[in-house]
């Protein structure tokens, strides 16, 4: 992780360590390049605004030296500039500050998954809840569950990220493709409908609310 703000670097690296990742932190761009060239990392988190060498130049240098480590770019700008878009097209991802740690973790793991080329499953499941991606059918305890399109989208998203907390913003942009606050909490409503269908008549409860952050699908 290349980040000059010590507090952010600290909370991210602690969080990642808890999630089972080992993290090295560089506080400026030059040191970031050194680290990335020395070690064999699964992914890099790079802030755009850095002392001595800005993040985008850093990424250019790594790519020029043949380092293909996937990069999650952190930017404090609200509007994403074209260079970042270009990098995103090259397989990297970006996140704007401030961000929820849950979202950073989810995106980082998606990047690692993509770069290690894991095969796409045709069936997702958690305990006795399963979702067939080909027939688009869900069932729990062998009983079919009838889902509407958005409910299906949400369940698929939750199952793919089981155990990880998903924020409302993430759900909104993933399920509807919206990236603005639509006012009334449409996410809450969709979640409670899905919960009604997959959890009400079954045990254990799978869809949990993490207050102040978002939702998580997990067995315990």
């Amino acid at each position: 992780m290349v980040e000059d703000d010590a507090t952010i670097a600290d909370f991210v690296s602690k969080g990642l360590a808890e999630a089972g990742h080992a993290v090295d932190v560089a506080s400026d761009g030059e040191r970031g390049v050194e680290l990335a060239l020395k070690g064999d990392y699964d992914a890099a988190i790079v802030d755009v605004m850095l002392p001595r060498l800005d993040g985008l130049t850093l990424i250019d240098r790594l790519r020029a030296r043949g380092v293909q480590t996937p990069v999650l770019i952190l930017s404090a700008r609200r509007t994403v500039d074209d260079r970042v878009k270009g990098l995103q097209a090259g397989g990297d991802d970006y996140l704007t500050k401030p961000f929820a740690f849950a979202e950073l973790l989810a995106r980082l793991q998606a990047l690692i998954r993509r770069s290690t080329g894991q095969t796409e499953p045709t069936r997702l499941s958690l305990g006795n809840l399963s979702l067939d991606l080909l027939s688009r059918r869900a069932e729990r305890d062998g009983k079919p569950i009838d889902l509407r399109p958005r409910e299906y989208g949400l369940l698929e998203y939750l199952l793919r990220n089981q155990g990880r907390v998903l924020t409302k913003t993430m759900i909104l942009s993933h399920v509807w493709g919206y990236n603005f606050d639509p006012g009334t909490n449409v996410v809450d409503v969709l979640v409670s409908r899905l919960r009604e269908k997959i959890d009400r008549d079954f045990e254990p409860k799978l869809l949990h609310t993490v207050r102040g952050v978002g939702y998580v699908l997990k067995a315990s």
């Binding site: 609200r78 639509p182 006012g183 009334t184 449409v186």
Partner: protein, 473 residues
């Protein structure tokens, strides 16, 4: 860059333009004048030559006549008399028999320069060059009745002297022309560039002092330079408006963020004073939620400011309205269902509108969200869109609580919340954003409402793409 270096940088281009103008002027002026001078010279030289040749041929004719009438004797007398008296210009006269036997020769001494033995004596005019190469002898010959050859010739010397004098005169004239051209070029350039120089000085003054309220003086000549000055002033006006707008927006954002920041601070302070772990948890959750709200608010405030100052980037395409409305209605489907509100839409399938689809979606979402919020269970929300002349009219009507007359003028203000809206979750920015985006698209938004009888928000957007002004200030 130092001040003097920058000064030179600015001074150099105009000097370069000046030099180029002056050079062009001089080249054209001198070129035309010299062409005229050259032409007159050539004409004069040609006519002098023609006159000499005529003289030679007429003399030849006259002398052959005389020879035919009085023989060699008479010809010699005539030549003698005429040369002496000066009645005729001095000429070369020779009578030759056979290949080289000269019977008679009259030639001025100075003409010994010419090697007359080279004359072949046949046909038209012959020319021989003097040894010194400065003059030519032009000779006409005629075969006489007794077989002798009569030759009459004239040196081009006189003519050359005359032309030489004329050349001197022309050279002086040319020098004068060049001098006039250079001076004229300089004057023309100066008078043309003077206003540009003034403009540059004025603009540089403004740039250097940063006083954007200063203006460039506009003369009353109504030429291109005046237009440039006027345009420059107009640009300054726009920049000033933009800067004022941004300062205003920044003030507003700072002001609007103070309240939620205070709330955030309050929550944290209260938690610190408590020793209860559960209360600490609660406070942390509240802080997180509050920070989400602040972020959402900041984004919305930025959107409003950008739209209002005209810096919002609109990605305008032809947006089909029916699918867009359908999509937004679907977003609120569950909420409407929960509240037992029927949401219907009436949009003709082929209606398209030039707009930024993401922004338009935001407008619609805010209006529909609002309508559902203020409509009691069992009510109706209707979305209608149709073309109305040169505009597309979009209505979002509800059967809700309506708006109190005293709130009506204020609903577009940022963070204004009427009595009814205080109980609802929201930022109080939705309608301000709606209006800002619609205005940025070159449209208008209006509301008609009565308490208890619902409200209808009407958005009118230009139906044809005239390139909605994105630099509107």
């Amino acid at each position: 860059m130092s001040e003097t270096a920058r000064h030179q940088d600015n001074e150099e281009p105009i000097a370069r333009i000046g030099l180029r103008l002056a050079a062009w002027y001089a080249v054209v002026f001198v070129g035309t004048s010299l062409a005229i001078v050259l032409l007159t010279y050539r004409l004069l030289a040609a006519s002098l030559e023609e006159r000499d040749q005529q003289l030679v041929t007429s003399t030849l004719r006259e002398y052959s006549q005389r020879y035919a009438e009085g023989g060699l004797r008479s010809l010699a007398d005539a030549v003698e008399i005429e040369q002496r008296s000066g009645r005729r210009e001095r000429m070369f006269v020779r009578v030759v028999r056979g290949p080289s036997e000269t019977l008679f020769l009259s030639a001025p001494y100075a003409w010994n320069d010419f090697d007359v033995s080279r004359l072949r004596g046949l046909g038209g005019l012959e020319e021989i060059l003097s040894e010194s190469g400065t003059a030519r002898l032009e000779v006409a010959s005629a075969r006489l009745a007794d077989g002798t050859l009569l030759q009459v010739g004239k040196s081009s010397e006189n003519r050359e002297v005359l032309l030489a004098r004329y050349r001197t005169v022309l050279a002086i004239i040319s020098l004068v022309i060049v001098a006039v051209a250079l001076a004229g070029g300089a004057i023309v350039t100066r008078s043309t560039l003077q206003p540009i120089r003034q403009l540059i000085t004025a603009v540089r003054g403004i740039v250097r002092t940063g006083r954007i309220d200063a203006r460039v003086p506009v003369r009353e000549e109504r030429d291109a330079i005046d237009e440039l000055s006027a345009l420059f002033n107009e640009m300054l006006d726009r920049i000033t408006t933009l800067i004022r707008g941004m300062e205003h927006a920044l003030d507003n954002v700072a002001h609007d963020l103070r309240t939620p920041m205070t709330r955030l601070r309050g929550v944290a302070e209260r938690a610190l004073q408590s020793n209860d772990a559960q209360a600490h948890r609660e406070a942390l959750v509240t802080s997180l939620e509050e920070s989400e709200r602040i972020l959402a608010m900041l984004d919305t405030l930025m959107d409003i400011s950008e739209a209002e100052t005209g810096t919002m980037r609109l990605d305008v395409t032809a947006v089909p309205l029916a699918p867009l409305v359908g999509e937004v209605v679907e977003l609120y489907e569950n909420i409407a269902e929960d509240k037992r509100i029927s949401v219907s839409s009436d949009v003709s399938a082929e209606l398209t509108i030039p707009a930024d689809s993401k922004r338009l979606r935001q407008v619609l979402a805010n209006l529909i969200d609002n309508a559902i919020k203020y409509t009691p269970p069992g009510g109706r929300v209707e979305v209608r869109a149709r073309r109305d002349g040169s505009v597309v009219r979009l209505d979002v009507a509800d059967s809700g609580v309506g708006i109190a007359p005293r709130d009506l003028p204020h609903i577009w203000e940022r963070l204004y919340r009427g009595d009814q809206s205080r109980n609802e979750r929201g930022l109080g920015l939705g309608l301000s954003l709606v209006r800002a985006i619609v205005v940025a698209h070159g449209g208008t938004v209006d509301v008609s409402a009565e308490p208890g009888r619902g409200a209808t928000f009407t958005v009118k957007l230009p139906a044809d793409s005239k390139g909605p002004s994105i630099t509107r200030v």
